[in-house]
């Protein structure tokens, strides 16, 4: 028998018996960040591709989600801070080694920009809209004039944001489950997929939905591929990685991951989308909802499970 235990009574909240510092706020924050990244990316992408007219939901309507998601996400992050009144210290320095730091700065940029994006479409979406103030109207004109370069900037920032949601976790060597380079692309892809799903839900245009659906299927396939890859990596890894893997294979996260994330959140909506594309009628909210739900679950599971995995004891 091997016994290894802390005998000095240590029982620190959030640390013992296993790490539990990050809660739903972080999972929600990561989810909303990914969602916003997805929404923004495709809005900008279709603008750059000149498909603004074809894809009204993606470019205009859905992009309203982005600033809302980002603000709520930031709110969640703020909620989770333990030393809230010192929040501003984040913006007194840039730390390139800290994903948290460049995440904060990316958000600092992309949140107002996404608002500007939405604002610049306000008149198209609501024809009666008027900014009332003169300088706002002229600013709007300037933005509309430079829409293509603006879209390029948004695309780049959204990729950074999407990758960041994964790297925030994968940068932690200390948590074997997180510490894999696949997490960046995986979160990016998953975020984009949720962005597409949200857009599909909003879209009333048959054609637009088909385009989005096809794209989404590709993302679902890539995501599944990455997940398989992730687990193959764990299986080939050290003892602690195997431990991490076990959480998902017979461990406490088996059901939540395989049933909710993979089956209900990826495979089922994938099938539904294929059915829809081949002409069957599927209520449009169903696959979208499943993907969004799966994406949220995925982040919950990763945040919770990752904290349990450790090197010692």
């Amino acid at each position: 028998m091997k016994e290894e235990l802390i005998v000095s009574g240590r029982n620190i909240p959030g640390i013992d018996p296993y790490l539990n510092m990050w809660h739903w706020q972080i999972a929600l924050y990561l989810f909303l960040g990914g969602l916003a990244a997805g929404v923004i990316f495709f809005a900008a992408y279709f603008v750059v591709r000149g498909k603004e007219k074809e894809m009204p939901a993606a470019v205009k309507w859905a992009s309203i989600i982005a600033p809302a998601a980002l603000v709520i996400g930031l709110g969640a992050l703020f909620w989770d801070l333990n030393h809230k009144l010192y929040f501003w210290k984040l913006y007194t320095t840039i730390r390139f080694t800290s994903p948290m730091s460049w995440g904060a700065w990316t958000l600092m940029l992309i949140t107002p920009l996404s608002m500007v994006w939405v604002a610049s479409y306000m008149k198209e979406m609501f024809p009666k809209w008027d900014w009332k103030l003169g300088f706002l109207n002229s600013f709007e004109k300037w933005v509309i004039k430079n829409r293509i370069p603006f879209a390029w900037i948004m695309m780049i920032l959204s990729i950074i944001l999407g990758v960041y949601t994964g790297i925030l976790l994968s940068a932690f060597n200390a948590r074997p489950l997180w510490n894999t380079s696949i997490l960046g692309p995986l979160f990016l892809v998953s975020g984009f997929s949720t962005g597409l799903a949200a857009t599909m839900w909003i879209s009333r245009d048959e054609h637009e939905r088909k385009v989005l659906s096809r794209l989404d299927l590709i993302f679902i396939a890539v995501e599944l591929f990455l997940i398989i890859h992730l687990f193959m990596g764990f299986m080939a890894g050290t003892a602690v990685k195997l431990e991490a893997f076990k959480l998902f294979l017979g461990g406490p996260f088996t059901v939540s991951f395989w049933v909710f994330v993979v089956l209900l959140g990826l495979i089922l909506p994938g099938i539904l989308e294929i059915l829809e594309l081949s002409g069957y009628r599927v209520p449009r909210w169903v696959p979208a909802f499943l993907i969004l739900f799966g994406g949220l679950m995925f982040r919950f599971v990763m945040v919770e499970a990752g904290q349990i995995t450790r090197f010692l004891y």
Binding site: M1, G9, N82, H83, L85
Partner: protein, 754 residues
Amino acid sequence: MKTRRQFIKISTAGAGVAALGLHSLKVKGLNLLGEENTEEPVSDEDMTATPTYCEVCFWKCAGWTYVDKKGRIRKIIGNKNDPHSNGRMCPRGTGGLGMYNDENRLKTPLIREEDDKGHQYFRKASWDEALNLVAANMNKLRKEHGPECMALFAHGTGGKIMSHLIKAYGSPNITAPSFAQCRGPREVGFFATYGEGVLSPERTDIRDTRCLVLIGSHIGENMHNGQIQEMSEAIDNGATIITVDPRYSTAASHSRYWLAIKPATDIALLLAWMHVIIEEELYDKAYVEKYTYGFGELKAHVKDKTPEWAYGITTIEPDVIRRTAREMAGAAPSVIVHPGRHVVWYGDDTQRSRAIAILNALLGSWGRRGGLYNPEKVHLPSYPHPPYPKPKRSWRDAFPKGKYKLASEVLTSGICDATIPNPEWDCHLRGWIVYGTNLMASLPDQKKTLQAIHSLDFLVVIDTMPMDITGYADVILPECTYLERYDILRDSPHREPYLALRMPAAKPKYETKPGWWIAKQLAHRLGLDDYFKWDNIEEMLEWQLKQKGSSLEEMKRIGVKKFHREYDDLYNLQNLEDCEFNTNTGKIELYSTELEEEGFDPFPDYTHHPEPPEGYYRLNYGRAPMHTFSRTVDNHNLWDLMKENKVWVNPKVADLWNLKNGQEVWLKNQDGIISIFPIKVRITERIRWDSVYMVHGFGQDNKKLTRAYGRGANDTHLISKVMEDPIMGGTGMRGNFVTFLKEAPANNRKEDKA
């Protein structure tokens, strides 16, 4: 007051609630209250340090109490010039400030009252009222039954002044659990052999030893500071450590040899060791020749006690017995077969201690460097007072003539017996003062203790905490903690004589008072002012120190003062110097004439003790390094380190019972007694399959101990069977067996605690 004493749970609400309310004002990240714990460390120069010596256990380490500018005690650090601590307190001493800070402390004197419905409760009282009541009871008792019907239980430093009071009052019945529940057999066994005891701190020269043999002494868990430090030094110096313990103790893990002995068979091992050492002629011939009496008889006695014989009893391989015997002899005379300290195990403990004493004599370690040194203490004159009155009776009269003749101190259990009315003896004890000992946790056979308590006319408890025993008191007098008071000087024996001062680092919290003040106040009310002619204790200390060429002023500055030995005889037998021992024969008595005279075996012999019946396990217990008995279980600093005891169970046993780590079980002993609280299981290879183990002191049943209440189980409660040592009345406590209950028992409250 002959009514049956109901156990009262002291309850005072208020302070705690208010504190809670305020706490919720504190917002994370925004500290509105500026609470203490937000403060950064304070450097030593910004604090004042006052000398003290520790009272968290009986090793009495000297140290410094650091107080910050706001008058708060911040830390306690050992005094570098003190041989007990060498500048390093043990965890309990370091955490001693938790006793001072404990918000659950006794705060005011309390008096037992009864309402119309027969419900008893404690009422807050002024000191004057409480002291008057105690004195009135004592005066009445003295007049009606004689002062000898009074008994004092006193453990710890402050007990000395209480003893002075009770001697002045006229009673010889002064006792502490440190004899019959602790060192008694060892002192008697060594006295019978060398004419001297082992004393405290033990005279073991561990620092310089080359081989240390621990018979059950679990140094490392038994955290007696100086011993730990010296053992660590010995390890550095390459000393061999041999640990005999059925449990894999911390000491065992640090030992070259761990002899995983079957419980209750140590005497067989000790005899076999003697056999090897004598048969292989490994003993110190010149030493044995010069100093000892009865070697020939001993040789004959152990002739057939071969390692092979012992193997069948102890389960220790003959080869291991031989090898360890040779290790000891190889290191002799720098070898210590440690006498142990809590040695009341199986009732033949004086004989086991004798065996240890004899083995040391064969190895020539008594009086030798690296063996057992010759300690010296400062002889402090006592402040002049009239002679004590001569008592006409004592507790011994309650027993047949000659019983416990060899008990060199008063037996706590004897006092209990003498308190329970008995047709053979017309004057049972009627009043107790209990100072600094939690009898409910320290005396085995709680039923008897309670029977005695219920026979009393009155019971006064002087304590710092609302421990179990206070629940039975008629009057409770709250003493301030050791950090808030002066006490008598520490004059314990050591390699060199030392004195140490304890002085207050802070004013007594609440309405608590120092023990010396309580004693003096009672003396006044009992008409014994002549025995307390000083106005306050500083005056007495000053007087004493002056006799020794020091002063209170000097002691306040240095805390500990070293004196020179009278003779240079620390290792008084190093070169076979002449020596007359304080025994009948003037020799080291391998053959004990004293025991023989009293009708006991002059040599130790192995006797078989009962083994646990099917489904039961021997209840083994001991210390955890971070706690002292029950006295620290509510200390916040130490509670942080260990909140409860667990019952250690071997994996095989756990399998059999299908027990899981952390699972709560109740323990039931051979007499059907069930632990009040459940205890969590720790599955570990460190314990044998025929025993379970738990740390003593937990399972406190008083809600006022907000941290300690209901945490773990109380071993004392389960020790209902006492294996009494016929030689000196020690209460052997290791003959109890327990089994597991996995479901909550229907009605498991102690009957007396309704």
